[in-house]
Subunit: 332 residues, 2 copies
């Protein structure tokens, strides 16, 4: 039972990613499922790991990757929800850049009806991130004014749909004029960042930010009383797949500290999270994955690159030109 | 139309509070209501003001006080919801330590059925504070684990009831063993602060704190992932009705600053608010007061002091011995 994996052996540019033959132990625990992977999702965190900046990554060499989709090829004797041949999607905790994975049953989900396998691999991480942000931190309600600062990314696409389903009034921001129509297709108001900063749009109950840095200070001022600013990434530290000590220090220095007193005077809250921390937590994951099975939202796949083109795939995500999700395809 | 007011003319100890004859202009705008005050609520913020530490207080001399109850004695020609003789409660924006007040109609509420006038004066500020904390910031849901660090105060009593109504699982803290039964009477688990810190009770979705200072750091560690720590006061800066530059500086230094990065790694949020800021905002107030009219919760009045005994009343609140609300009575 062998396959192929993509590994981080040295930190740095995308060209340093390397392939290795994957040898999976033939033994199978009672609750384990083997999935022949069709697609692996690429996340911004993978790039942070590749640059050696991800605190919680294993020591190199290691295989990154947090999500896959594919077809079940073996099941342990205690597995009840799946049989060989079932189409599935799964959250992995590293190791997702592989053509075959072995996972405990609880991490695996049936592919929703009408989902393509590509859509399956585009779902777990972004869905969980969007769900935790909007339904655990913000707990959005009908009529809430929401600002999604990263509206065209994989998380943003889910956020727009969740806001629409909840009846929230949402503005989605994008860096490029020609992505506005994409945002509007989810029932949201679209603005470029430039237009937004010139406008007086404010009084948001919830603002989701993934860039960190000095933008946070400005966004804070656009919150309403009792509003929350939530940061889920520090993409400002990374530009075009590079990070320098300078860009990191700059992003960190510009990422504000909040004294409780300031929050009290402004009647606001600030928070942050790393969805990947929730992947470790079986109790949380089970709860969220049930919600995913019940939900009707759908990812947007921008592009699937053949696994051979992993370098181009990483560079494309870094360029921030993608709308929605970028994938690795193993079956081309 | 004259009355009596209690004024802050010099900052400092309770003995410096002074009475003055109150002369209210006979003119009445179309939307105004005159209330003969029976009870005025005392809040911790009044003590902060008396000490000269309240940023948003008017220049002295001024009359403090944020809430009253009483009987309507005059109404403007445009007033539709009240007539002379109606029992009411009202939020005031300063000026509540008075035996008669003139207010715009929207700030006045009918006294809920079965409420005594004393209970009416114990309601507006604490209800609004508890409501904003639990239903706007936290947005508590059934099953949430909640910690109320100030469970026996006026706000705490409302919080316990709101948690009970929402089906949240709540622990209320108190400084004194003999107040535990009081907390338990609201369906909550009661612990002394000492017992709590020795226990491993943690994983709270929401923690409400009113002391500020170093406790915040410790409470932060008891939050669950996606949990929120909310601070609504810095009572640590004030002990027994005194504040010194030392106690203030100490409280401020011990009140932590939160870097966004730390929040991201911990997957948590922190916030603060000052309910009195919401009193200025007619849109907010109208929305919340409707909720109050529909709610079934009830304040707990610890004691009403005759207005003549205002010094003792302030000292009693400062002693932190009260369970629930402390009032000024004008009709004894």
């Amino acid at each position: 039972m062998n396959g192929l994996s993509i590994e981080i052996t040295s930190y740095g540019k995308a060209e340093l990613l390397s392939f290795k033959e994957q040898i999976i132990d033939e033994s199978l625990a009672a609750d384990e499922v083997v999935v022949d992977v069709h697609y692996s999702g690429i996340n911004f965190a993978d790039i942070v790991m590749r640059l050696g900046m991800y605190q919680d990554a294993p020591p190199k060499p290691f295989v990154p990757g947090y999500e896959v989709s594919g077809v079940v090829s073996r099941v342990g004797v205690g597995v009840t929800r799946f049989k060989v041949g079932d189409k599935v999607m799964a959250g992995t905790r590293f190791g997702g850049y592989s053509s075959v994975v072995k996972l405990p049953e609880w991490q695996v989900l049936p592919l929703p009806e009408n989902f393509s396998l590509a859509e399956g691999a585009a779902t777990p991480v972004n869905y969980i991130t969007a769900h935790i942000a909007l339904h655990e931190f913000a707990r959005i309600r009908k009529g809430d004014r929401v600002l999604i600062d990263c509206a065209t990314g994989g998380v943003g696409v889910f956020c727009l749909q969740m806001c629409q389903a909840a009846g929230a009034e949402v503005i989605g921001l994008t860096s490029s004029e020609n992505k506005k129509e994409f945002i509007e297709s989810y029932g949201a108001k679209a603005m470029t960042h430039e237009e937004f900063w010139k406008s007086d749009e404010k009084d948001f109950y919830f603002i989701l930010n993934s860039t960190g840095g000095k933008t946070l200070k400005l966004l804070y001022n656009r919150l309403t009383k009792s509003g929350q600013l939530l940061c889920i990434g520090l993409q400002q530290a990374i530009t075009q797949g590079k990070s320098s000590p300078f860009s990191i220090v700059k992003a960190l220095l510009q990422t504000p500290w909040y004294p409780i007193l300031k929050l009290m005077m402004g009647s606001k809250s600030v928070g942050g999270f790393n969805a990947l921390k929730f992947f470790d937590d079986e109790v949380w994951m089970k709860k969220i994955l049930v919600k995913l099975e019940q939900s009707e939202i759908r990812p947007h796949v921008d592009k699937a690159f053949s696994s051979r083109d992993i370098v181009q795939a990483h560079k494309y995500l870094e360029s921030k030109k993608a709308k929605g999700k970028v994938l690795i395809s193993w079956r081309e």
